[in-house]
């Protein structure tokens, strides 16, 4: 039935026939959620500029999205997006990248963009590993996990990314897993409409690298694991640190309002030029 098209296909570049994701990769689900969010908001691709770094998640938007797409150097999409947004404030700027890109090499830019509260959507596909380069340890890889750079077991603690971004000053922070695409879509819609720095973390399965190396299994097993381990932010608030240690806390961490950088810049320019 070649005449049947996926309803979101129209947002993809005509030349793109398939994604480059591994079978069962959660990033494909994230891709759909982003497009569904845009579709349900009644927005078009030309309302956006998309920016991604380096890694599997960076290939969600590049080359797939039929829009202005900037595929940057590793760790830097937020820095590029800052320049784009300050210069083109009427467009929505969305960064889509992975946990290694955004919190390891790119951690500094994430912290400061949140601190500045520049209007931007950042979607962090967190698969707990460096997938594209062959399965090296990431700041999100669990302790004791055996990856290709921690063959004897990882000795390091992990980042709890969402609370960190909240602490840095973001005005919207949410976390979902790829087992919760409807909630994820809803959060992305909220993030897009947010007049401030909006961060959405998605725990996304990487069966080929993470699943294979740590024994977490295939796509279905990992999704089942997400389902079992997810608890709401509210529930987590009632539990002790020990009780939530191996849980995935999902939900909205913060949704607030603060002065936004581009608006402040516009106000400053007006003030300065008014004097002259």
């Amino acid at each position: 039935m070649s005449s049947v098209q996926h309803p979101l296909r129209k947002y993809l570049r005509p030349s793109v026939e398939a994604t480059t994701f591994c079978p069962g990769c959660g990033d494909g689900t994230v891709l759909q959620c982003i497009l569904r969010a845009i579709d349900e908001l009644g927005m078009i691709m030309d309302d956006f500029v998309f920016v991604s770094g380096i890694g599997c998640a960076a290939w969600i938007i590049s080359p797939n999205f039929n829009a202005d797409v900037l595929h940057t150097t590793h760790g830097r999409p937020i820095a590029f997006a800052t320049g784009i947004k300050l210069s083109l404030p009427e467009k929505k700027v969305m960064v889509v990248s992975g946990d290694g890109d955004l919190t390891a090499i790119g951690g500094n830019h994430l912290i400061h963009a949140a601190r500045r509260n520049i209007e931007m959507v950042v979607i962090c596909a967190n698969n707990g590993i460096y997938g594209m380069t062959g399965g090296q340890v990431a700041p999100t890889t669990p302790r004791e996990a055996r990856t290709i750079t921690t063959p004897h077991g990882s000795l390091e603690n992990t980042f709890d990314i969402s609370p960190m971004v909240q602490a840095a000053g973001a005005t919207y922070v949410a976390r979902w897993t790829t087992h919760q695409p409807r909630q994820l879509t809803k959060s992305i819609k909220k993030a897009i409409q947010k007049k401030g720095f909006a961060f959405v973390e998605v725990i996304s399965q990487c069966p080929v690298q993470f699943g294979a190396k740590t024994g977490a299994g295939g796509a279905v097993e990992m999704l089942e694991m997400y389902r079992e381990r997810s608890i709401s932010v509210k529930k987590a608030g009632e539990m002790s640190p020990q009780e939530i240690e191996d849980k995935i806390v999902t939900g909205e961490f913060v949704d607030t309002v603060k002065p936004e950088l581009c608006e402040e810049v516009a106000r400053l320019k007006k003030k300065v030029r008014g004097k002259g």
């Binding site: 049947v4 996926h6 979101l8 994701f21 069962g24 689900t29 695409p181 796509a219």
Partner: protein, 78 residues
Amino acid sequence: MSKVYILREACKGVVDCGICIYVCPKDILGKSDALNRKGFFPPEVVDEDACTLCENCMIFCPDMAIVVQKRKEKRAAR
């Protein structure tokens, strides 16, 4: 009435993926025995009447390889 379309050539297979089968609450999908051109076994609809149009399969699929559409019932003109 629903209609579940499997875009076979976009699918990366039930063996390595199989998410659609996992998320279907009514077990309407199963593994087909016909390989697609990439060498994967896509799913096939085994019990279409049981489909409730929940759209789980369509929403979860990482390759946008399943489309769920409400079948348009056309009344014959009288």
